[in-house]
């Protein structure tokens, strides 16, 4: 229906016999954009769609270019083989060993980062004055701004030495637990545990900011009700803020997991990046382990077949991080607290 802007479309004048109300046509008001507006709409729409196209192209081109390696190895074999050897013919490459390391590093990182993030978010939203809040938010943002390379550098040359005694203590006292077991004379540097701690520092800001935003949306009425009933501050947090922000905590943690899975340079520096069997990888305190992204970064400029294999590994990483992030945004936006939260 073409109408001049601003005109209200009236129903056709009704004759003497008014028809039943059901039959009335719905009134539709549309605008007729000017030429400039149409161009404007096209341009912005084009930009929006190009983002869609770009992300699709990323997946598509990785798939096309990795078909060499995938075709030769077979997709299923590629996904389930742990070793990566290009020195034998035919080359035996597979991504499972890399995936195991990736997931372990990410899980260690999230396990360490989530409690810290939730408590820092609480400190920001519930425990600080307006001025101190600004400072704390600034520190968390600054932590987010520090490049991954610097984290890796610091972790590699400084933090690693400080963590080795902790690893030693853990393995001496809790060595019966498979995760903390180490072989007899294993080196404790360059371990998944250390990489996980450094990655935890990197995903901490993003989890904190999602959780903080969710907490700050807690209805003040409910908080005040809890306090008015005589609850302490912690009582109020336990009964109002935390239940309200549950969805945000879960979603924020998953978002952090997605980031941790894709973390590249820091783990490329920290881990030896030699794929291991899963049974070896789970001994997180000892030297060893490889992640998909770090492995790719370390093999930049390799021969054609290896490169094709790396692109296949990149494709797997792409799909996994995309899936994790999508689930995270759905979890956050579906939860009661996260409706208006950007993640």
């Amino acid at each position: 229906m073409n109408v001049v802007p601003g005109t209200v479309v009236e129903d056709p004048p009704v004759a003497e016999d008014p028809p039943a109300p059901r039959e009335r046509t719905r009134r539709v008001i549309t605008e007729v954009p000017s030429r400039a507006d149409r161009r404007f709409n096209q341009i912005t729409m084009g930009a929006g769609i190009s983002v869609l196209v770009l992300l699709t192209l990323v997946g598509l081109f990785l798939m096309i270019q990795s078909s060499d390696a995938l075709g030769e190895t077979g997709i299923w074999t590629f996904l389930t083989r742990t070793e990566w050897r290009t020195d034998v013919t035919p080359a035996r490459i597979g991504v499972l060993g890399l995936l195991a390391g990736t997931v372990l590093v990410a899980v260690v990182a999230v396990v360490i980062a989530v409690p810290l993030s939730v408590f820092s978010a609480l400190a920001i939203t519930e425990y600080s004055t307006a001025k101190r809040r600004k400072w704390l938010v600034g520190v968390v943002d600054l932590l987010a701004a520090v490049p991954s390379l610097l984290f890796g550098l610091w972790g590699f040359l400084y933090l690693s030495d400080k963590i080795v005694p902790i690893s030693l203590w853990l393995t001496q006292n809790f060595g019966w637990f498979p995760l903390f077991k180490t072989s007899e004379d294993a080196s404790l540097t360059g371990s998944i545990f250390i990489a996980g701690i450094v990655v935890a520092l990197m995903v901490l800001p993003i989890i904190t900011s999602v959780v903080r935003e969710v907490f700050s949306q807690t209805p003040p009425g409910e908080k005040e009700a809890a306090l008015a009933l005589g609850g302490t501050r912690w009582g109020m947090i336990k009964t109002v803020v935390l239940p309200f922000g549950k969805g945000g905590i879960v979603g924020g943690s998953m978002l952090g997991l997605g980031r941790a899975l894709g973390e590249t340079i820091a783990v490329a520096l920290l881990l030896p990046q030699v794929p291991q069997k899963i049974g070896e990888s789970i001994h997180i305190l000892q030297n060893g382990g490889a992640t998909v992204s770090g492995f790719i970064a370390n093999r930049a400029g390799a021969d054609e077949f290896t490169t094709s294999g790396l692109l296949a590994a990149g494709l797997v990483l792409f799909i996994i991080t995309l899936g994790t992030n999508m689930i995270a945004s759905v979890v956050v936006s579906k939860s009661r607290s996260g409706a208006g939260v950007d993640i």
Partner: protein
């Protein structure tokens, strides 16, 4: 529902209060009766805190350094902290009851967690500052790595070629991504297209894309297929790096700008439309000027993120020890690559050179961060005196969503 639960949780508390009241009433009449508040924090509480801390430290010193051996400083600190919490909890429970005690203990835990976030940041900045200053000389800003051999000291040569590369690559990346990001943000916020939802989901997904995948994508699309053509434009060069960086910057800037645009009051838009302006004119003359500071902050933060990205460069500009000021031909160095390549070399001088580069990189990132903070500072106090502005403080909002998380 919620209030019911808090009511139950509050009940024992009230009983605590009544008991204290009862004790108070047994005291002589002339003594002034004061109401006890759960959040009250007296000098005595400070002494309790300090006392628990000292006793915890002593106990753990005894355990870790006298009775058992081989514990690290970390074990001592962790043990002390746990013991401290336990002692503090017991003492406070004895004094003011379980409920108030749990509140106090949790306060301590929350404050500690917030403090723990500070520590690595301070350590990291301090470490890079100290190590970087050892090898950073003015020559770093004027020389490249020509004629540098492993036996030469760390202070010889410099990273001028890397600085030039970073400036060119990030500048070009901004050139590609900024128009697209602005248009996409306008699309998300100002249009009423049904495509907005999928586009938003994809922008979110893209911001979680590991940055090495962006580099791999450019490599797989533009470098690998043309590898045999010998055309320098489609080889390892700064231009390819700028494309990869643009992909990592695009979602960051789009989302931040979108948040800023959302803050522009609808009244302003409606006023403009009611005066007969087209939508394009409204965006250009009303929405953009209103959110200018916020958009600047968004762009500065986008740059700050792109400057430190390393992973996408490994497959695109590759790194080079000499000056190459032409971003369109031949591999090119940049600061992150300079650092990454140097600290992986076996000789100590190279590692120290890497630290000098890291220090420069860190100063650039911190400087950009400070600039973004400065632009986005709270100007409401100054504005209050002058004529009331119609602009909301859009920059305040832009500062906050730097949650891109560096995937580098």
């Amino acid at each position: 529902m919620t209030s019911t639960t808090s009511a139950t949780s509050a009940t024992p508390e009230t009983s605590t209060k009544t008991t204290t009241m009862a004790t108070a009433s047994r005291a002589p009449r002339n003594r002034k009766r004061t109401a006890r508040r759960p959040r009250e924090f007296t000098t005595f509480d400070v002494w309790v805190l300090v006392g628990s801390l000292i006793s915890a430290l002593c106990l753990n010193w005894l355990i870790f350094y006298r009775l058992t051996a081989g514990a690290s400083a970390f074990g001592f600190l962790l043990g002390s902290y746990v013991t401290f919490l336990a002692i503090f909890a017991i003492v406070t429970t004895d004094r003011v009851g379980r409920l108030v005690a749990s509140d106090r203990v949790m306060t301590v835990v929350v404050v500690t967690a917030a403090a723990i976030v500070f520590i690595p940041l301070v350590l990291l900045i301090g470490y890079i500052l100290v190590e970087g200053l050892k090898a950073l000389r003015p020559s770093f800003f004027f020389e490249d790595q020509q004629g540098i051999t492993p036996v030469m000291p760390a202070t010889s040569g410099g990273g001028f070629h890397a600085i030039i590369g970073t400036i060119e690559q990030v500048g070009l990346a901004l050139l590609w991504s900024l128009p697209l990001a602005l248009a996409a943000a306008v699309f998300l916020n100002e249009s009423r297209s049904k495509w907005r939802r999928p586009v938003r989901i994809f922008v979110d997904a893209m911001s979680g894309l590991p940055s090495i995948v962006a580099g791999l994508f450019i490599f797989a699309t533009l470098i690998l297929p043309f590898a045999k053509s010998g055309n320098p434009l489609f080889g390892y060069n700064g231009f390819m790096a700028s494309l990869a960086l643009a992909i990592t910057m695009l979602p960051t800037i789009t989302r931040t700008v979108e948040v800023v645009l959302r803050l522009v009051p609808d009244g302003l838009r409606e006023a403009s439309l009611a005066l007969g302006a087209s939508r394009a004119r409204t965006v250009w003359s009303v929405v953009f000027p209103t959110s200018r500071t916020g958009m600047t902050t968004a762009v500065v933060l986008g740059i700050a993120r792109a400057v430190g990205e390393t992973a996408p460069l490994l497959f695109t500009s590759f790194g080079y020890d000499l000056m190459n000021s032409n971003p369109f031909a031949g591999s090119q160095e940049s600061l992150p690559l300079f650092v990454y390549r140097n600290i992986r070399k076996p000789d100590i001088a190279a590692v120290q050179r890497g630290f000098a580069g890291a220090l420069v990189l860190m100063l650039i990132v911190l400087g950009l961060f400070a600039i973004a903070r400065f632009i986005g500072r709270d100007r409401s106090k100054r504005k209050a005196r002058g004529p009331k502005p119609a602009t909301p403080n859009s920059a305040q909002a832009a500062k906050q969503p730097l949650k891109g998380g560096s995937n580098a």
